[in-house]
Structure formats: C-alpha cells, structure tokens
C-alpha cells in the first residue's frame, strides 16, 4: 500500500526495525518481512515520511500562494490555481531529486 515512494526520506529517520532496502530509495515496492512487527514498523515509518512530506508541502504552498490575507474566508481564484500548481511542482521537484539520488547511489554501488 505504501510502496516506498518518498524513499529518500528513509535516510534521515532510520529505524533499526526496518531493514534497509536495496538502493536505499525503496523504488521496488514493499519488501517482505519475516514478522508482522517489523512490517508494522515499516508501514509506520513510511507514514511518518508521507505525513512529514505533506506538512512541509502545505507550509510551503500556504506561504507562497496565500497572499490575499482574509478579506473573507474564501480562497480566491488565483490562490486556488496557485495551490494546485504548487502541489504539482512540489511533487515534480521530489521526483527530480529522487532520480538524481537514485543515480548517485547506483554509481556508488559499482
């Protein structure tokens, strides 16, 4: 379900319970775990990464897009469009960074 998508984050929140995945960026989906405890720890760790990613994304896009401070409680058209694009770009930056890191780690392994 949470097949290691934001794998780069694994690096700063290492937990002994979850075995390091080959390549370190978890691109190959969920490895199988011998015991349920380890699996749950892995899922939890994965969710920590996702939730952290989401929080940061929200902070960034909020700061960048919400300029019109509270003439009313509604998002303006411009702000809404900005938020949509902001989320999309955030994911693209994530992908670019993951790609570069993956390449680097592949080079290192040789």
């Amino acid at each position: 379900m949470f097949g290691g998508m934001l794998g780069a984050g694994n690096k700063d929140s290492q937990q002994p319970a979850a075995p390091a995945q080959p390549g370190g960026f978890g691109m190959g989906g969920q490895p199988s775990y011998q015991n349920p405890q380890a699996q749950m720890a892995a899922v939890e760790q994965e969710m920590d990464v996702i939730s952290d990613f989401f929080e940061r994304l929200k902070d960034s896009c909020n700061a960048k897009c919400i300029i019109n401070k509270y003439p009313d409680g509604e998002l303006t058209k411009g702000e809404s469009v900005c938020l949509d694009r902001c989320v999309s770009k955030y994911f693209q930056v994530n992908k670019e960074a993951t790609d570069v890191l993956t390449k680097l780690s592949q080079l290192q392994q040789r």
Binding site: M5, K58, F91
Partner: protein, 92 residues
Amino acid sequence: MFGGYNKGPSLQEQQMQAMMEQRQMKDFMKMYVKLVNNCFDDCINGFEEKNLTDNEIACTRKCTQKFMKVNERVGARFSEEHQKMLESQIQQ
C-alpha cells in the same frame, strides 16, 4: 490476507487500527496548533489592550475558514499526485 474466516479482527489488524487512530489524532492536533499559530501571526499585531478587538476577531474567523479551505484543497491535490506517483512506480 488477514486472519481467519469467522474470527474477529486479528491482533495485527487491531494494532494497525489503533496505530491509524493515534496517527489521525496526532495529525489533527498538529494541524490545529498550526492553525492557531498561523492566524495569531496574521491577525494579531497590536497589544494596546488585553482583549481581542472586533477586527481581530473577524480576521481570526476568516483566517480559520480559509486555513481549512487551503487544507482541504492541498489535501485533495496531494492524494491525486500521490496516487499518480504510486501508479507510475508500479509500472516501472
């Protein structure tokens, strides 16, 4: 995949459920703390009196509303992008 046929939820399922609930609560509290901090910073600037002025109250209410809308919208886009990302990874 989980547990037997006519038993209740397995221990692992129960643990997972408890973990999810805990996490939801934590996420909500995080959001709440951020909301208060954000709207305080944006709406409260002077300390000439002890109580909130009418303007500050109005601003705080609008700020709260808007914060929730941002939350909702970003959350929706996030799930879409996340889903896309998962699908493209499965294809690889």
